[in-house]
């Protein structure tokens, strides 16, 4: 046994162990710094740098100085930079590979700080072609130009001309037919002949009885002839009345036809005010979309840290360790605790507007283990550009399959200055000054996204320049606005969402635009009316003349009917009261 035991080896082991511990103690800070940089770089996908790490053993804790995390999308910018991070650890649980931090202090947190060199760890792919710039600067206004009347009338067929021509042909056919018919009726000569016969009968001086009989017979025959002709003329007049009524309807339709053409052309080429209904989307859409996109970007960065990817193999939970090979198999714990938990993080944010302070509670990737969601609350008072800002929220992943994340931002008296709303060459608009109060609520439940923005701006002054009459009207309307509200609602999913924006500026601009549109539309209508009237005047005059000619037949028929009726009366009197002198 003695042969196999080497007591000197034990001494050597102790010496080596002590030496190793000493070396570890001397290099611990450097090793921690390197480990944080290496692990952080792997997790962030971009360079993570730390100026100094200070490890303390009693109590177990760590202080980090000047941590910089590069923005993966913009390698010359830091996503976040922290001047100092200090925390103590639960030593016993650390041996069980559980990082439990009761309280962490983060001071001097800044976002988007510039870097002096690129923090990219992989070569960037060739830049994608940038989207072509919208000529209007993303601001498209409806067109309210007066249509070119000459061109329209060259291109458009006037239905009224055809209608008038058809009416004219009908009237001419009717005129011809009635000319023929009137010619077949008893004319003035025939009526004069009747009158002569009546006069002859009246002047007759019968002496004998035979003469009386002869005269009575002639009077009776004359009365019959006159009655027959009178009935013929009467029937003709009745038919003519029907023809005249139909012709009058045709004339009325022909006279109305040009109005129908004018209305049709105005509907096709005219301008309505509907196109300027949602001007607020044009003015504020870019700003809202940018802020929503930024919020989505940050949420996308935070979300993966809320849940640890865990899978199951052969019925047990397994997790891929961040810095080791293989997989860690999880077994039930008698006193479950998450592998990583920061109970409270006190943060001091330094932004250009001022300093924000806040607390984040229960930061962990295993909320189910502590049965509490991660909550955060930040506030800033007396800031450079605003009176106050408050951010509250909760990231609830206690039930990983039913996540529910919420945030509320309240801004009071945010001083706006020179806020560019439209870069369009045709209608540049900026909010020169204003004071905003805004309340923003956002929630993500599963994949459903809801964001609501309610903002009120007072003491507003718009600066706008119009390049044409229409945009000048809009600019004038905006110049009179001193207060307005903007509401935005974002709904959909995280990958596909719709932004709807409304504002009381819509009414102001729509009224101004509507007035401009009405003026232009009236001008256009007058021009088209004059042009159509000019084109159809001659044809209408012709058809009206034809109708007048046709109507004159009525006068002829009336005259003849009247005379025949009169003659018939006289003839019938002659028959009933013969003037026979004995």
């Amino acid at each position: 046994m003695k042969k196999w035991i080497r007591w000197k080896g034990l001494i050597a082991f102790i010496i080596v162990g002590i030496a190793a511990l000493l070396i570890w103690y001397l290099l611990a800070d450097w090793m921690v710094k390197t480990a944080i940089e290496k692990t952080g770089t792997a997790l962030a996908g971009a360079r993570v740098e730390l100026k100094k790490a200070d490890l303390s053993l009693s109590p177990p804790g760590l202080t980090l100085f000047d941590l910089q995390v590069t923005d993966k999308e913009h390698p010359l910018t830091n996503a976040v930079e922290v001047s100092r991070i200090a925390f103590t650890l639960d030593g016993l649980n650390l041996l069980r590979r559980k990082v439990l931090i009761r309280e962490m202090a983060m001071q001097g947190v800044r976002f988007g700080t510039p870097r002096s060199y690129s923090g990219a760890i992989t070569k960037a792919p060739p830049g994608a072609p940038s989207a072509s710039k919208n000529e209007e600067g993303g601001f498209t206004l409806p067109s309210v130009k007066v249509p070119d009347v000459k061109k329209i009338l060259q291109e458009e067929q006037l239905a009224s001309l055809q209608q008038i021509a058809d009416a004219r042909k009908e009237l001419e056919d009717a005129k011809t037919a009635w000319k023929t018919r009137v010619a077949a009726l008893p004319d003035q000569k025939a009526i004069d002949a009747y009158e002569k016969r009546i006069n002859d009968l009246r002047r007759a001086r019968p002496r004998k009885l035979k003469d009386y009989e002869r005269l009575a017979g002639e009077a009776s025959s004359l009365a019959k002839d006159i009655e027959r002709d009178a009935k013929t003329v009467q029937a003709a007049r009745k038919d003519f009345s029907a023809t005249l009524a139909a012709s009058r309807q045709q004339l009325t339709a022909a006279e109305k036809a040009p109005q129908d053409d004018i209305r049709r052309i105005m509907d096709k080429y005219g301008v309505s005010a509907g196109g300027v209904g949602n001007m607020s989307r044009l003015l504020f859409g870019n700003t809202v979309s940018t802020w929503v996109g930024r919020g989505m970007e940050w949420y996308g960065r935070v979300k993966p840290l809320l849940t640890r990817l865990r899978s199951r193999k052969n019925g047990v939970a397994v997790v891929k360790p961040a810095r080791a090979k293989g997989m860690d198999v999880r077994f039930p714990e008698y006193h479950p605790l998450p592998d990583f938990l920061i109970s409270a993080v006190n943060v001091s944010l330094q932004e250009p507007q001022g300093t924000f302070t806040g607390t984040i509670k229960d930061v962990t990737t295993e909320q189910a283990a502590i049965n509490r969601p991660t909550t955060f609350a930040f506030s800033g008072e007396g800031l450079a550009d605003m009176r106050s800002l408050r951010l509250d929220g909760m990231l609830d992943h206690v039930q990983p399959d039913k996540p529910d994340d919420r945030a509320t931002i309240t801004v009071e008296d945010y001083r706006l200055a020179g806020m560019q709303l439209s870069r369009s060459d045709r209608f540049p608009v900026s909010l020169a000054r204003g004071t905003a109060h805004a309340a923003i609520t956002a929630s993500v439940a599963g994949d459903d996204l809801h964001v609501q923005v309610r903002a009120r701006v007072s003491a507003a002054r718009f600066t706008a320049a119009g390049q044409d009459a229409f945009t000048r009207l809009l600019a004038n309307a905006l110049a009179k606005v001193t207060a307005f509200t903007v509401n935005a609602d974002v709904t959909g999913t995280l990958k596909h969402y719709d932004v709807s924006i409304s504002s009381d500026l819509d009414r102001v601009l729509k009224d101004a635009a509507g007035k401009a549109v009405r003026e232009q539309a009236a001008k256009a209508e007058k021009a088209i009316k004059d042009a159509v009237a000019q084109k159809t005047a001659a044809a209408l005059k012709g058809v009206q003349g034809d109708f007048a000619d046709l109507a004159s037949v009525n006068r002829i028929l009336s005259g003849r009917e009247g005379r025949l009726d009169d003659l018939l009366k006289r003839a019938q009197e002659s028959v009933s009261k013969p003037r026979i002198r004995l």
Partner: protein
């Protein structure tokens, strides 16, 4: 590589007991298959220092088996996963999992467990095989080399005496 072979030959040609060399290789197998800074490895190192095993063979073997372990990691992962997810052992693993000392060993990592299992399984056969091979080498090959004229002439030279003094 050449340095390693020369060191190996030195160990084999030394007067060390074959059992000490083989046992050193067994411990080297375990150390090579385990993560270097794991607590279990420190225990193995303590045992290696305490027990009279050939340290040169141990360090040589550790380097060699660490290289092989890199290639065998997928096998360790599968073996470890099978062992850790075996239903019959679930109770045992749960008890160990809730013990701080055992958690420190990272026994629930599939590569660590696989390395331990494969190392333990191969240790005894390696010991027996090692013994056999070392004895065979010394009895047959080494004695034949020593009888060679060239070797005898070299052994007589001043250069060899100087080398023996320095080594």
């Amino acid at each position: 590589m050449i340095k390693m072979i020369l060191k190996l030959l030195k160990v084999l040609n030394s007067e060390a007991d074959p059992g000490q060399i083989s046992l050193a290789l067994c411990f080297a197998l375990l150390s090579g298959f385990l993560p270097f800074f794991s607590p279990l490895n420190i225990i193995v190192l303590l045992v290696v220092f305490l027990i009279r095993v050939n340290l040169s063979a141990y360090f040589l073997g550790t380097a060699f088996f660490a290289g092989i372990a890199y290639l065998l990691d997928p096998l360790f992962n599968r073996v470890g996963l099978a062992v850790l997810t075996a239903g019959a052992l679930h109770g045992l693993w749960t008890t160990l999992y809730n013990s701080t000392i055992w958690r420190l060993q990272r026994f629930n990592n599939t590569v660590v467990m696989g390395g331990i299992v494969v190392g333990v399984v191969l240790a005894i056969p390696l010991f027996l095989l090692g013994n056999f091979l070392i004895r065979t080498y010394r009895e047959r090959i080494l004695s034949w080399v020593r009888k060679l004229r060239l070797v005898q002439v070299l052994k007589m030279s001043k250069f060899y005496h100087l080398y023996q003094k320095l080594s």
